[in-house]
Symmetry: C2
Subunit: 562 residues, 2 copies
């Protein structure tokens, strides 16, 4: 097992390094290595991944005993939903690109239609694969599956890297263009380097269709980067789950459903935050994309942050305190999904925190008493604080047993001691689950049915009826007691997490769709120099955006389990 | 426990980010933030660390029951030895700096004598602390100790960062100076930015002492960076060990001693490699520091690598195969030192591998058929291959049970099943070990005595005498059998690892003391552009150097346990 992991990891590492060297070469030496070279490399990788994906779908997963266990924590519905959502936007993006290239076919090469087609195929297959198989714990062809998964992860990472560097080139161009006072205002924002190289010779004819393709391309671009990262995280969990055997004690807690009942203030405050955020964003975008970005618009933008962030931090702190008060049992079972979530949250927060510290040093060293500067300073400090408190709150929340399951788990815990001898998976389960694999199944319902089946079988075998009755009585009493006692705490937790979800959504939307005041205010840019600050933002901003998206997911889980 | 770890980790993260922002600001904006500001920040951190270190030495560690357990894997002798070695060189470095500043006192401020003095104090205390306490598993004041350790780690990391950026500034200056055709050849290589700013106004008077200080400073500089990294790794293991309870089953394997007997070819080949390496290095340094670095010297340098690297890779591959053949039991116990070793090896190798891939892309895109270029290309490919095979070999080797202990462990494993009930630490051990903590002890001997004591006590309690006799007979028979059978394998493993140790030493020495052909050959520099390639080397080279040093340690351990 170790050897397989090591080997597949090394494979991925080499692919990623080779690809990043290619991409960097393209950025720093346009002549020797062109975007077309990079696209060829990536297309080869995509085709390899496609072959493996199709082989997995048709071959590996249909073998007898291939998928005996399914990790109930892996690929929760919100992750798979965002895979589908971002995937479909990415497909749309590629369709736009094909359309754009087709209109300008006289000055573009044919390959610019071929590459997006491969991309579309890759996205479709991958989304299908992740929707149906993200919970699999594969038991056959371990090493081959590991290598395939790692290759797909590496390809996605490279696509992300290319998209990010492209995106930043976009920012760079925009700001440079603005500096030339928009003499070329007709064709300003289109960003694809290969296309924008060409725009000098072939501009978009003034048809509506062409404009729609251009605008849509720019608008949909951020979703593509998110899609790659989300796929990476799901694939990584699958990779960790290859060959894993899950003892059936872990399975049986009923997943709590998402309900909106009982929360009032959270949604209310959150909606207010979103609406005012959208207003600020609109005003900012209109003003900032105009030729002169005035001071006032920055003051407004940063004031919004300075008001919102303390509320969010306070919410997270109160939530953490309530977590501590509740003294609910911690879920300490092995769970790759959760560890990855925690690592991703921490890692992605580093991007924002790093940028904030750079801002702080720059401002303190120049002039912290200016109004705008003091606003930026407090925003930076608050961002750090907010990121940290929110991370603590989410990670704390993820490690707690879901409420209903808490009592349940105590019960199965008792039962487990009696059942140690009969722990190995019985034959009934093997057949039911492998049978279930043969028919491509509608994901939601059958899974739950299967889980219940397993639980029933387990209970029947392991606990004698008498004990079971006693346990149930005990459990139900403690349930009622704790429910009446914890009621207000649970409600507050739900209010807080709902509020935080909405706030994170608006904080995700603003930088995703183009508000980059950290670049446009010019303060840090003049302090660190253009290219340095550009590199810092280049590293930090995509991570910050990913962080917001990922914490929405984490907070939803906290909300549901509260 | 989780909370304490999280909190101390966050503390360290914030300190590191603040410090790196400071250091970057200094690099990119010399005016607003000077080196003096950074030194003030670092001195504050050092003083804080000093306070904690002294408090730990005098307070925490002397409390009753403070150190009940000691992790026998942590802080092996070669690590502690290198702490002492690099520490003393670093002290010497600071003495030189003080001396230099004292000579030029008329044009320097007093603080340039104060800062190195604090540094000396910090290094001394830290080295003393690590020598005596690196094995501690602290059981009191968990959170305070964790924060102290993390603060010290953060400070060391920042010192390393400053040293690395300084070191690269050194390289940059040297190469820029060479480009100006050495008009200023009298005062060329001195590198400290703060000093080199001043050298325009105050040059070193032509006394021998001043020259010695200059040269010594340049020569000793690399040791300082290594010292910081080694301290970080030891401190990290201590941090992981805070609050850890080690069940006494894990302790009793006798540490195999380092013996030179029975190896011939490894040392022989290794010494040949070292001698020829030193010759190549000398010629290279003489030629390359001259005004015209000729092609021939690069050809010679790269040829040396192209000859040596395949030998090393072959050795590592053969070693890995022998490991697989031997089927020795794997040591799967929890062991923070070993996991850190594996991570550090993998992480540090990334620096070298990244650089190599960038070289490969640059060469393939320009002209791979040229003699020098094809040499660089093959060197890069071979370096990647060598790094990976060596990592696999070392990590494989670290996970095997030491030879003597393998049989021993099987024996205690049997015994362990009988002894589960009496596993918790008895009172005798508590008192003996805490007694031992009160007297500051000479490290080597008493530790071994203690381990034996514990083992004896454990054996007496847990295994009845009759069983013990049978076990011993069985063990000794299997020992003799396996020894006669494995003899040639073990010898080959020792030959290989000794050879690799010597090779890694020479590959460590060459870049450490100034041979940077990757920068001086000009190929990648012209391909990627000066500043980009500079940043890549800046990231990769210190890691590559650290990798060589760290693999020497790992290989020594493989040698000893083979």
């Amino acid at each position: 097992q170790k050897a397989g992991r090591l080997f597949s990891g090394l494979l991925a590492m080499n692919v990623v390094f080779l690809g990043s060297a290619f991409i960097s070469s393209m950025i720093f030496n346009h002549v020797a290595i062109t975007l077309a070279d990079v696209w060829i490399l990536l297309s080869i990788l995509k085709v390899l991944c496609l072959c493996w994906l199709i082989y997995y779908l048709l071959g590996t997963s249909r073998q007898p005993h291939a998928v005996l266990y399914r990790d109930s924590h892996a690929g929760p519905i919100w992750i798979r939903g965002s895979v589908l959502l971002f995937g479909s936007f990415s497909i749309l993006l590629n369709v736009f690109q094909i359309g754009y290239s087709a209109i300008l076919i006289q000055c573009k090469s044919r390959v610019e239609i071929v590459f997006p087609s491969i991309e579309i195929l890759f996205i479709c297959t991958q989304a299908f694969f992740l929707w149906h198989h993200s919970k699999d714990c594969v038991q056959v062809q371990h090493n081959f599956t590991r290598c395939g998964l790692m290759l797909t992860i590496a390809t996605n990472l490279l696509l992300w890297l290319l998209a990010v560097t492209n995106d930043t080139i976009h920012v760079e161009m925009e700001s440079q263009l603005r500096e030339v006072e928009q003499r070329l205002s007709g064709k300003a924002p289109f960003s694809h380097p290969c296309l924008s190289n060409d725009t000098t010779s072939c501009t978009c004819p003034n048809t509506t269709l062409c404009k729609v393709f251009q605008k849509g391309y720019i608008l949909l671009y951020p979703f593509n980067t998110e899609f790659c990262l989300v796929c990476c995280s799901v694939l990584y969990v699958m990779w960790k789950n290859v060959g894993r055997r899950i003892s059936h004690h872990h399975v049986p807690h009923i997943k709590p459903k998402f309900k909106l009942q009982g929360v009032v203030f959270g949604p209310l405050l959150g909606v207010i935050a979103i609406i005012s955020g959208i207003c600020v964003f609109m005003v900012y975008q209109v003003q900032a994309t105009g030729s002169t970005a005035s001071r006032q618009v920055f003051v407004m933008y940063y004031s919004y942050y300075v008001v919102l962030l303390p509320l969010m931090s306070m919410g997270a702190v109160i939530g953490t305190i309530i977590h501590a008060l509740e003294k609910r049992e911690l879920d300490t079972l092995k769970n790759p999904t959760r560890s990855l979530d925690a690592i991703l949250l921490m890692g992605a927060a580093l991007g924002q925190i790093g940028m904030s510290y750079f801002s702080i040093v720059a401002i303190v060293a120049t002039d912290p008493r200016d109004l705008l500067n003091s606003l930026i300073l407090s925003q930076s400090v608050l961002l750090i604080f907010q990121n940290i408190t929110q991370n603590v709150f989410i990670i704390d929340g993820l490690h707690r047993q879901p409420f209903v399951a808490a009592t349940e788990a105590r019960h199965t815990g008792h039962a487990g001691q009696h059942a140690v001898a009969s722990e190995l998976p019985g034959e009934e389960e093997t057949t039911t689950s492998s049978k279930q694999e043969h028919t491509p199944m509608p994901p939601g319902k059958e899974e739950e049915m299967k889980e219940e089946e397993i639980r029933e079988a387990h209970d029947q075998r392991s606990v004698s009826m008498l004990e079971l009755g006693q346990e149930i009585r005990k459990v139900s009493i403690s349930y009622i007691q704790s429910y009446s006692h914890l009621s207000w705490k649970r409600r507050v937790l739900r209010e807080i997490s709902f509020f935080l979800v909405l706030c994170n959504i608006i904080l995700w939307v603003m930088p995703t769709f183009g508000a980059h005041p950290v670049f446009e205010n010019g303060l840090e840019k003049s302090f660190y120099g253009y290219s340095t600050w550009f590199a810092i933002v280049n590293f930090g901003l995509p991570l910050a955006v990913f962080y917001r998206m990922h914490s929405v997911g984490g907070l939803l889980e906290v909300y549901v389990t509260a």
